[in-house]
Amino acid sequence: MMVHSRVTELVRENKDVFTMKFDSSITAKPGQFLMIWVPGGKEIPMSLSNTSSPPSITFRTFGETTKTLSRLKIGDRVFYRGPYGNSYPEPSGKVAYVGGGTGVASLNAMILKYRGDVFVGARTRDDLFLIRDGYKIATDDGSLGFKGTVIDLFLPHLSEYDYVFVCGPEPMVKSFIDRVDRRTHSKVFFSLERLMKCGVGICDSCSINGYRVCKDGTIFSMDDVLKMTEFGVYKRSESGKMEFFTNGKR
C-alpha cells in the first residue's frame, strides 16, 4: 500500500548522487528496498541506505524519476511502498563489504550496523560516494586508490573473511562468481539488481531461473547464484525478452 513521508534532508553526495532522509517510522532491515513513486510518473526500486530512524535512500540520477527525486525540497512528500525483499544475514567473525556503483547504497545500511572492511569501486574518484575513512578504493582510471576493478582489489583477500557481502551491477557480480573458488570457506552473499515492475513477486520481470530478485532476494547466497544459469548471461527487457550481456565487464 502506498504511503508517504516528508523529506527531512537531501544531501548531494557527488555530481549525480544524492542521499534523501525522510520522516518515516518504517521498520526495515539492511538489504531491503522500497518502491519509490513519483506521482504522475514512474515507480522505481530503491535500496535503503540507512534503515535506522530516519531512514534514507541514496541514488544516482539516471532518468526522469531519479532526477525528480533529486529536486524535491525539505517538507515535500515522498511516496513509497515497502520495505520489500529479504535482508542480509547477520554476520559473525571478520566481515568484508564489496560494492560497485549504486550497490554501495544497499551495503551502507549494513555497514552502519556491523563493522567490517569496505571495498568500493567506481569509474573515477568523482563517481565515489558514501565513502568513509579506511575504505579500500578501486577506480577504473586509477584516479584514487587501486587502479582496476573492486573485484581485482578484493579477491586476493577473500580467504581472510568469514562473511562477505557483495552488491553491484550484474556483470561485476558475475565476474566475482566466475573467478572465485567455489569451495571457499567464506560465506559470500550477493545483493542482485534486476528490472523490477511490481516489487512484490508476482510480475516475473525480475526472475532469474525462477528466483525472483524482489521476493526470494534481493540477497542470495553463493550457492543460489551458482544455480542461476541465466545470471550474468542475459537479463530481461521490459517486455520479458531475453537480452544478452555483451561482456562481463562494465
Partner: protein, 306 residues
C-alpha cells in the same frame, strides 16, 4: 483418500489448481517452479504477435480487497517466446495464452504455438485495459466465434476461451465461444484507484484490471450462470485464495481453477495447500473424487430461488 485429478475437455490433470495467465509466468524458469511446486498446469503470460514493453510503472497497486494491475500485456512477442521455450520440458502441462486484434493474429499465433510443440492454448479475449485487443475483441461475439472456428479448423489445439466479465450478457459471449474445449471465467474487472495526497491515479495507465478476493463473488456468479446455461467444461478463476474458495467454484460447475493474485499472499506453497485442503474436504464430506462435486449445486435439482 479422495482423488483430486480432473479433466477439462480431454485434458487430464493430476490436480485442479492451475497458475493463471500473467502472474509469474513470463519466464520459463518461473513456470517450471510453479509446476514443481505442485500446480496441476500453468497458463503462460499472454503472448502477442510483436514484442510489447507494457505500460510504465506503477503497473500494480495493492488494495485491501485485492490488486489493481495495468501491466499492459508486456510480452516478448511470439517468436522470442518460442525461442525461449524451445527445449522446455513441461509443454504438456503448459497452456499458452495468446492475444491479438484480429482473426488472423489469433490464427497465426495459434499455429506458431502448435508448431513449437505445445498442444493447448488459452485465448485471452478479456484483458480490460489494452485498446484494440483483449476485451475489446472479447466483447464482440461474432469476432470471438470466427477466431475460435478458424483456430479449430486450422490446428489441432485444445482451446480454452477466457471471457471478460465486463459485459452485459456473458451468456451470449459464452455461446459465441462454444466451439472452444472449455471456458475460463473470469478475467479482471475494469477498475481504477486514486492516491488522495498526490491526487494521482495509482496506475500509470489510470484504468486497470481488478483481481483478488474482492472479485470472487462476481467470478462465482459468472461460473454459475455459464455452467447452468451451457453445461460446458469451465475453469474458474477470480479471487481464489484458499481451498474453501476452490470448493465453491467446483460446486457451481468449475472442473479446475486458476489462481493469480493469491500468489501474492501465499506464494508457491499455495498449490499444495489448496490441493491438501480439497483432498481433506472430499474425504471428510464422504466423496471419493473431485468429479463428484463438480456442478452439484446446479445439477442436482436442489436449486432454490427463481
Amino acid at each position: 483418500m479422495a482423488s483430486i485429478s480432473t479433466k477439462v475437455g480431454n485434458f487430464s490433470l493430476d490436480n485442479p489448481v492451475i497458475l493463471a495467465s500473467g502472474i509469474l509466468d513470463e519466464t520459463s524458469g518461473s513456470i517450471l517452479r510453479s509446476i514443481r511446486s505442485g500446480a496441476g498446469a500453468v497458463v503462460t503470460k499472454s503472448i502477442g504477435m510483436k514484442e510489447r514493453k507494457g505500460y510504465p510503472t506503477p503497473v500494480i497497486s495493492e488494495i485491501s480487497t485485492g490488486l489493481l494491475n495495468a501491466v499492459g500485456l508486456s510480452n516478448p512477442g511470439i517468436d522470442n517466446f518460442i525461442e525461449e521455450f524451445k527445449n522446455f520440458p513441461e509443454k504438456k502441462r503448459t497452456i499458452v495464452s495468446i492475444f491479438g486484434g484480429s482473426v488472423e493474429d489469433f490464427v497465426t499465433l495459434a499455429r506458431k504455438v502448435e508448431g513449437a510443440g505445445f498442444d493447448k492454448i488459452e485465448l485471452n479475449l478479456s484483458c480490460p485495459h489494452v485498446q484494440g485487443v483483449g476485451s475489446e475483441v472479447g466483447q464482440d461475439a461474432d469476432l470471438v466465434e470466427s477466431i475460435i472456428t478458424e483456430i479449430k479448423e486450422r490446428t489441432n489445439l485444445h482451446i480454452w476461451a477466457k471471457l471478460t466479465p465486463n459485459v452485459t450478457d456473458i451468456i451470449s459471449l459464452a455461446k459465441a465461444s462454444e466451439k472452444a474445449d472449455a471456458y475460463v471465467l473470469i478475467n479482471t474487472l475494469r477498475a481504477t484507484g486514486v492516491e488522495i495526497y498526490s491526487r494521482k491515479f495509482v496506475l500509470a495507465n489510470i484504468v486497470g484490471g481488478y483481481s483478488g478476493p474482492g472479485i470472487k463473488p462476481v467470478a462465482l456468479r459468472a461460473v454459475y450462470d455459464v455452467y447452468k446455461e451451457t453445461g460446458k467444461d469451465i475453469v474458474g478463476v477470480g479471487g481464489i485464495t484458499n481451498w474453501q474458495d476452490a470448493i465453491e467454484f467446483f460446486l457451481v460447475g468449475a472442473r479446475a481453477i486458476q489462481i493469480g493474485t493469491a500468489l501474492l499472499y501465499e506464494d508457491y506453497p499455495i498449490y499444495k495447500k489448496i490441493n491438501n485442503g480439497i483432498t481433506q474436504y472430499l474425504d471428510s464430506e464422504g466423496f471419493s473424487g473431485l468429479d463428484e462435486i463438480v456442478g452439484v449445486m446446479v445439477n442436482d435439482g436442489t436449486l432454490q430461488g427463481h
